[in-house]
Amino acid sequence: MASAARELTPREAEARPPREEVVVRFAGDSGDGMQLTGGQFTLSTALAGNDLATFPDFPAEIRAPQGTTFGVSAFQINFGSTAIDTAGDQPDVLIAMNPAALKTNVAALKPGGLIIADEGEFGARNLAKAGYEVSPLTDGSLARWQLLAFNISQLTLDAVKPFGLGNKEALRCKNMWTLGLALWMFDRDRAPIIKWLRTKFAKAPQLAEANIAALNAGHAYGETAELSGPMKQHHIAPAPAEAGLYRTVTGAESISLGLVAGAQLAGLPMFFGGYPITPASAILHHLARLKEFGVTTFQAEDEIAAVASAIGASYAGSLGVTSSSGPGIALKTEAIGLAIMTELPLVIINSQRGGPSTGLPTKTEQSDLYQAVYGRNGDAPLAVIAARSPADAFDCAIEAVRLATQFMTPVILLTDGYIANAAEPWKVPDVAAYAPFPTAFLTSVPEGGFQPYARDEKLARPWVKPGTPGLLHRIGGIEKQDKTGNIDYSPTNHQQMTDLRKAKIDGIADHIPEQAVELGETSGRLAVVGWGSTYGPIRQAVSRARTRGLDVSHIHIRHIWPMPRNLGALLKGYEKILVPEMNGGQLKTVLRDQFLVDARSLSKVSGQPFRIAEIEAAIEEALA
């Protein structure tokens, strides 16, 4: 039953270009503009044709006290000439804007990696705040790495001097100086960044020019300074990619666009009820600007009103959508039950973050799977799907709309803080290639009379817009009588309706694709089964293990509930099942329950994504 992974032929191995990838981590104070620097570096990387993945890692505090370790904001990017699936295990280059940034990030740096530090920030005060007694730049403690320390602060001040900015404002250009240096290191074009600066500071041309001067100065520093040794220019060749138009996209963007696409494919106006919460707010921000697509956004007074208004809008004939993160989803729970009972379409997006309670607002986790699948009072089934990457989230949002409107049910779309914030290149799809799924409202009395809880072949009840003559009816959260929808507490009816609600959701499995195997054989010694944003590290780990000849396959589940029809049989074809999850083992438990398989958990809840090496080690252990 076990089949060995196919080894590369010598010719194939030769044809493979040398794998070139670099991981760069920008780290500084939350006020240093590291996310902006990272974002612009990402853009230049994308324009250079490299494949890439990013990992923004920032504190929950907006402006934590300056110079402290808990105020450090970092942005990691992995880019290369081949397919990139993760933001990288260990940085090759760490740019540290102050001692705290160095302290919190240096341990992750690859041995022999390069540290670029702003010497100007390593004064006694900042050293003390970071908990250093002596400067690590001089005490030899960084000997494992290559160190380049120079006074970026002073160099920036010199560069922007002609523009007459105050000291504070001038120092704010430091991040552009650093970006200029990074652009030089990787042989990048400065023009798009300069264009962006001119647009960003259109109202303050002086600031634009100062930032451009800093950017140029950083670039020139790399070019002209006598930096023998570590400072070298690298050119990473473009990654092979399918021909077409590309853009960078974050999960929050692609979900918003996918919702708009889904609403168009369903032929519905969209109503989005939201309440600000990290890391989900970005979806509300994106959609608020898209009025011409028939999108109405409503910032509600709380999470409950956000979902309740979306249910009201669905009842009135719009596509009701709400979005939040775990704590907000908890508040919406009762209303989601109402949408299940009244069988109205509703899309609920959960951008998961570390929990429980307030937990880790800006850190990623996948610990709301139980909440999505089981977390309601009563037997309350609904559909759950999970996006694996920022680009995948576009298709998942469309799928959520399709299931919600075709089956008259709430659908939870799980994403997470990592997917929401991270950017990746996205081949812009041809929207005409998506099959429409037009909504059929009931507009007149059907043959045999109108019954609000009659069912079609998918067991969905009719959707009737208030305002339709002849179809007046009442719905509510009290148990409904089969077909008539009248109040009915009778024992046989409740049994029947509970069974019907379950059968409707179970039946979705007949209308979703069968589970595919991402990488490897459809049976064998080990299946690594994942869901959501662990896709990248699992894929890379499995790919590396297979290159070494290990018999391991990667299965990634999009349809969490109901699960694909063939999943149970597929899993039973493997001797072992390993489930890496950023939770205590939630999918593992569901798989065990559904299929009676011996799924084992690889759990990580540190607020950081899996490293490829962690999964690789677990694969090796499982196959040892």
């Binding site: 270009p17 021909a243 138009l245 109503f271 509600a300 007074e301 009201g312 004939g317 009816h473 009248n486």
Partner: protein
């Protein structure tokens, strides 16, 4: 409402086929009848009318109306109604709620609906008790109310629904009594007002709080303890023998005697429904302090509605733009990858 959408109906046309299941003698029956009597006079169409309710005795109301209806969850009717109205502003939305539903579990939503001024009617059936859960004291119960959850009497002070509404920014505030013949007039005024129309209806719970309003609703007590307000008319009660005067020395309303109908001489003032200060004083009048209960339209000063503002802004922001999805997803920082030899 234009001619095309008006319709001749009778109260019977607004009755659903569902058996009404309130306790015999409940004030809700009278309110249901009053609503069913009022709607034909408004010329509105049943299919354009939506009743949204929360949870509680009063919230069963939508099942008995031959309209569209949504019996939602506890306290959330205003939020659901907001979604309904924003999705289709043409619908005529009525919210049915109670003192617990609107002011306790749903207080937040009630406040924000009033603040936003969503065009709808909110009928708050105030019986000063939790009926459906068998008689616990409610946020409008008077201090000292003995109930299963307060066997020694409640110690907290009650909320005033109309004062809450005004504090939340309501532009229409009125009061009625379940069995009073003037209730349909109050409902008509509420419907005529564009915006959130807040109506507190004193509703007798015959089982758990019987006669709690008898002090001003009893036939004998009524004339001396009720003042029905009419915009522009002198504020008189007790068959014209008493009135309300504004004492300029302490800026309070006082009950004054009116002799031979000479109300001006007694200092009685005319009701100005657009005056928020007087409205607040009227709301606070209490029969327990020898003052009449202010009834009818207390405050009515319309402002642009939330739904109309949302519609206008959506239209304005979309003006001149086309809904080109392909163009939308192709926006931002893009680059073209040309066909290249495939690398394994």
């Amino acid at each position: 409402m234009n001619e095309m959408t008006t319709l001749k109906t009778t109260p019977k046309d607004w009755e659903s086929d569902q058996e009404v299941r309130w306790c015999p003698g409940c004030g809700d029956y009278a309110i249901l009848k009053a609503v069913q009597r009022t709607l034909p006079e408004l010329g509105v169409r049943p299919e354009n009318t939506v009743f949204v309710s929360g949870i509680g005795c009063s919230s069963r109301f939508p099942y008995y109306m031959e309209t569209y209806g949504f019996h939602t969850i506890h306290g959330r009717a205003p939020a659901i109604a907001t979604g309904v109205k924003l999705a289709n502003p043409e619908l005529d939305v009525w919210i049915i709620t109670g003192d617990g539903d609107a002011l306790s579990i749903g207080g937040n939503h009630t406040m924000h609906l009033l603040r936003r001024n969503l065009d709808c009617q909110i009928l708050l059936f105030n019986n000063e008790i939790y009926g459906l859960t068998k008689g616990q004291y409610s946020p409008t119960s008077r201090a000292g109310t003995r109930s299963p959850s307060t066997p020694f009497g409640s110690v907290d002070r009650p909320a005033s629904p109309c004062a809450f509404a005004q504090g939340s920014g309501a532009r229409f505030i009125a009061r009625g009594i379940d069995t009073h013949k003037k209730l349909p007039d109050v409902l008509k005024a509420a419907h005529a007002h564009k915006g959130a129309s807040f109506v507190e209806i004193f509703q007798n719970c015959i089982v758990y709080n019987d006669d709690v309003f008898a002090g001003f609703t009893d036939k004998k007590a009524a004339p001396d303890n009720q003042i029905w307000l009419e915009h522009g008319e002198p504020m008189l009660f007790a068959n014209g023998t008493k009135g309300l005067a504004l004492d300029k020395s302490d800026l309070r309303l006082h009950v004054v005697d009116v002799v031979d109908g000479n109300w001006e001489a007694a200092g009685v003032i005319r009701h100005d429904q657009t005056n928020p200060g007087i409205a607040r004083m009227l709301i606070d009048l209490s029969p327990q302090r020898g003052q009449p209960m202010a009834l009818g339209v207390i405050y009515n000063d319309p402002r642009p509605t939330f739904d109309s503002a949302v519609v206008a802004q959506n239209a304005e922001a979309a003006k001149g733009k086309t809904a080109d999805l392909q163009a939308l997803i192709s926006k931002g920082q893009t680059w073209q990858v040309e066909k290249q030899p495939h690398v394994i």
